[in-house]
Amino acid sequence: MPFVSPEVFAKEKISAIQDYSVLAGRAVANIFSRPRYWADIFTQMDSIGFGSLPIVVLTGFFTGCVLALQSATSLEEFGAVSMTGNLVALSMVKELGPVLTGLMVSGRNASGMASEIGSMKVTEQLDAMRALGTDPIRKLVTPRVGATVFMLFFLTILSDAVGIAGGALVSVLLLGLNASSYFHNSYRALVYADVVQGLTKPLFFGFIIASVGCYFGMNTKGGTQGVGRATTQAVVISSVFIIVVDFLISRTMIGIFGR
């Protein structure tokens, strides 16, 4: 990797942030004006939402399982194994459900968006689209952003549910807990603020995944090698963004709701 002066480096980064902001802003603004590409939105919903079901369900389920298994060891020291349901439910709904679903969808879809749009960029298909009178941001970015935000919300709910179910399975079969007690404790552990926090996060994460994936795709340079680079950058940056924004949302929500 060539070394550049700090000034050039800073200018490049600021320029990238500016370009990203413009792209994200235009993608959102396009929602409120015509034409709207409904067919593309539904296609993306199918691809992003339904296509991500297996990895989201498996990740959520086994995260719930392992969470119950690990927490039981610590809770046993306090004689509070029966509280496993509380811990699994709170962890899944507030943190692990949204974050792991976001990371999984990012790995699968941010990379897919970057490579698909990047391939179109290097083969001049984006230029052709503009030459034919279509705004590529409206046609390609806006449907992906809308579809990801919408579908990630429901994927997170699903992940939370199967995570709690996985915790229940381990609690009942391996820890010998009562299923009714587990679900009762899980239900009692969750309050309005927890659910709001857990369901606010996927809205932001969905936006990050799609906008970052599309940004790197639309700014691909350097042929097929550039497509590979854009794909990697999209996954890395969107994953880091998700973790950082998760912290910021958690802090804000704790400030608002007090938990």
């Binding site: 052709a128 034919l132 279509t134």
Partner: protein, 277 residues
Amino acid sequence: MATTLPNPSPQQAPIAEPVVVFDNVCIRFDAKPVLENLSFSVDRGEQLIILGPAGTGKSVLLKLVDGLLEPDSGSIHVFGENITAMRETDRFKLRSRIGMVFQESALFDSLNVEDNVAYRLNEERADPAESHRRVEEVLNFVSLPTAISKFPSELSGGMRRRVSIARAIITTPDLILYDSPTGGLDPITSTTIVELIVKQRDVSHTTALLITHRLQDAFTLATNRWNVEENKMEPIPNGGIDDSTRFLVLNEGRIVYLGNTRDLVHSEDPWIQQYLA
């Protein structure tokens, strides 16, 4: 060559007004100048053939005309409108009058030939039956009627180029930009593409800017015409030259020649003589 497209009626801009005007246009990439102080104009019905060594900014010039790139300085007027001062949303309207054939065809690989060719009509929500009829007509024009349901990956390089031409001309644009339409093709296929361009020029009288690396193709374009009765290309009698064809030669981002075919071949500029040789 089966059918021909109807001759479109001239639109809006008065005859005297040039279709494309470059005024002192400069563009640079990463501090490297690509085009410097380019000034020229293209009149209605004229065909400007752009020649020059690889990497001299020919494709950049064509993208500037379509507003796909913005110059660092200078102005570009297309159909009398300053495209450099326009917002991107306004450029989309202007581009509805411009057809562009890209260097590598740039067909949408997820769409079949019909959807590629009818892309602009579909975006305009045209009647599907009417759209299908026009796709068939234009595919007949480029002699590819059987490729309508194929995908770009199933087509040869020459067929992709012809589909790209069909996509560019389906809305009978007032200006066509050809970016190396014969690049990378075998001589027989190149001749087929050149025939299509001559046919489009002489049947529809569309203003065109054309980049080519093949001097042979450039001079074929300048010395041949389309015989509408026999539906084939033929040399202009008595060694004649097409009056509507002009040449623009670029070298290192600057214009080294702008004029007609006769003056180009008789140029005494040593660089041009070497280039043409």
